[in-house]
């Protein structure tokens, strides 16, 4: 009788421990699940090229000023756009060149992360090419020019006249294979 009870308790202990381990693993499983969820629903798609839309109408009646901003965080890199801003019509394809220079004497891997103002700009910004889609490796004292190609869709609310596209380079630890493998 007492033996049965102890046995039942130990069985229950085992089941609950297994459940605990499953939940611990579940916590980690949330990471790929989160990324997949964002990918499928198109949330948070900052680092993937957009598909070229069929035919975007250019709204010639509106002008938008696009400001370009560039930062590098804790990196001996000089990073700047070749033009500080552009005045464009919504729907018009835009090409900008950014330039980075590695001022140090070591090879550095880094990844650029975009940031937009206003925050909802990402809904209307379609990027076809960007240096931020992959990691950048610069040899000592190397300089590189890189294009960004994008369109701001005419759906952008009427009261927005100026938008800012900003990039910040972060150093990647050695051996980080692909910075972004969503």
């Amino acid at each position: 009788m007492v033996g049965n009870k102890t046995f039942a308790n130990v069985m229950m202990l085992k089941k609950l421990l297994v459940f605990t381990l499953i939940m611990f693993a579940f916590g980690f499983a949330l990471v790929p699940f989160y990324e997949k969820f964002c990918e499928v629903t198109g949330i948070n798609n900052l680092l993937q090229p957009d598909v070229q839309a069929k035919e975007i109408r250019v709204d010639e009646n509106r002008w938008i000023t696009v400001e370009f901003d560039a930062n590098s965080r804790g990196l001996p890199w000089q990073f700047k756009p070749l033009q500080n801003n552009a005045r464009i019509h919504p729907g018009e394809p835009v090409n900008v060149i950014y330039e980075i220079t590695n001022n140090s004497d070591r090879e550095i891997n880094a990844q650029a992360i975009p940031s937009y103002s206003p925050r909802f700009l990402d809904k209307y910004l379609k990027k076809f090419e960007c240096f931020c889609f992959t990691k950048q490796v610069l040899k000592p004292n190397e300089t590189r020019q890189m294009p960004v190609q994008f369109v701001i869709e005419p759906g952008l609310p009427e009261d927005i006249h100026t938008v800012t596209i900003s990039y910040t380079f972060f150093e990647l630890p050695d051996g980080t294979a692909a910075a972004v493998k969503r």
Binding site: M12, F24, A25, V31, Y34, Q111, R119
Partner: protein
Amino acid sequence: MAAVHGDAHGHEHDDHHPSGIMRWITTTNHKDIGTMYLWFSFAMFMVGGTLAMGIRAELYQPGIQILEPELFNQFTTLHGLIMVFGAIMPAFVGFANWQVPMMIGAPDMAFARMNNWSFWLLPVAATLLVGSFFVPGGAAAGGWTFYPPLSTQGGLGVDLMIFSVHILGASSIMGSINIITTILNMRAPGMTLMKMPMFVWTWLITAYLLVLVMPVLAGVVTMLLTDRHFGTSFFNAAGGGDPVMFQHIFWFFGHPEVYIMILPSFGIVSEVIPTFSRKPLFGYSSMVYATASIAILSCVVWAHHMFTAGMPTVGQLFFMYATMLIAVPTAVKVFNWTATMWRGSMSFETPMLFSIGFIFLFVIGGFSGVICAIVPIDIQVQDTYYVIAHFHYVLVSGSLFALFAGAYYWIPKWTGRMYNETLGKWHFWLSMFFFNLTFFVQHFLGLAGMPRRIPDYNLQFADFNMISSLGAFGFGLTQLLFLYIMISCIRSGDKAPQKPWDGATTLEWTHLPTPAPYHSFEKPPIVK
């Protein structure tokens, strides 16, 4: 009713126990461990309360007077962590240890040795947490929710906090495995699930929530640790990670966690109200189902903590409606308590006062919760004192008041002595007055836009902050009265009658002598 059977000689078993400090270190007795849990949580309540006094002293006037901003942030962070993980949660586990075996007619917890371990992990974790104030860089200062990037950047204090959370999590998981096994396997013959006292039911459901979400918390702090030291990039945007993901995983734990802190208090109140209304609990089975549905719903509402973090409208709507849905089972409970009191033969001893105070103030906190669930309002009040007021109404006048009610209710059974009823009533009324003085005005501060976690504020907030601080000092001092009442009860209280509360119907009152013997229910009682 006076079925006090042959347990009176139980004390003879004690003789071979080690005495002095070794008794407490090696004990596997659920009553000893429950006592240690309760004293530990009270000590942590004092530490967390001291931090709160520091916060309120700094906020007494605008400007920086006492705490430098860095230290202020450490105070708010550790106040939250200590109160949640050190005070409220262990206190409920203490109650479970004392009460669950006695209420279901079991001789002890299922795994007595593991029970001892799960308690003794707590002082270790507490030492790490409190000790982190004294390491270079000080304690963690990024808020009790330790969001990255602040928590990936902080110093050694953050590492100590992470280890501490790991240990506390392990302790909670062991404790809840023990409680689940005890409740499911060790009930006295005849004690069917639907005859269990509500306190046991709420703890069974709470324990399941704990094994469900505590491992996820352990996982997320592990990710934080590897991000900090082992080059992973779970939450580091530069490495392809996402700091918002931390918030999702954290609140997947965090929201069930708030119900882990409130469900056992529902249980305590559901024992106290029928006793002092001298009527059975109204709607027992609906109480059980309401508790279970609150627990299930609590797992699908986490993102209401992050409406401003960026989320599609569909997501906001889902989490808003799901959150508001929780008001339904909660209202079932409130109506049931009220209906239990209706036409009852009520008396207002201290446990009953705290329970009624609980219902009254918890409902205020519940309503401000529904208000915060509404997305446009939440975006307005996010990170303001309105939120502070809301969760203190559910955690202090909710969980803590229920803990006080439970302590006054069961202390005669535990010690065989009565507390001082007059002082107990003073404790209640002073707590009630100072609590509302402290936190009610914080609603106004929050609506006017005062942000949380900032040591300084605009002059327009000065008057309400002074009122709130005065209330907080009063509330803090009042809790010393509680300590005095408890100590004087244990040392020199009047001898308690066999059944101090004539309306009590659960096994520990009907089948055990007062005080409860060291070993109870070695022969299980028969429940009809």
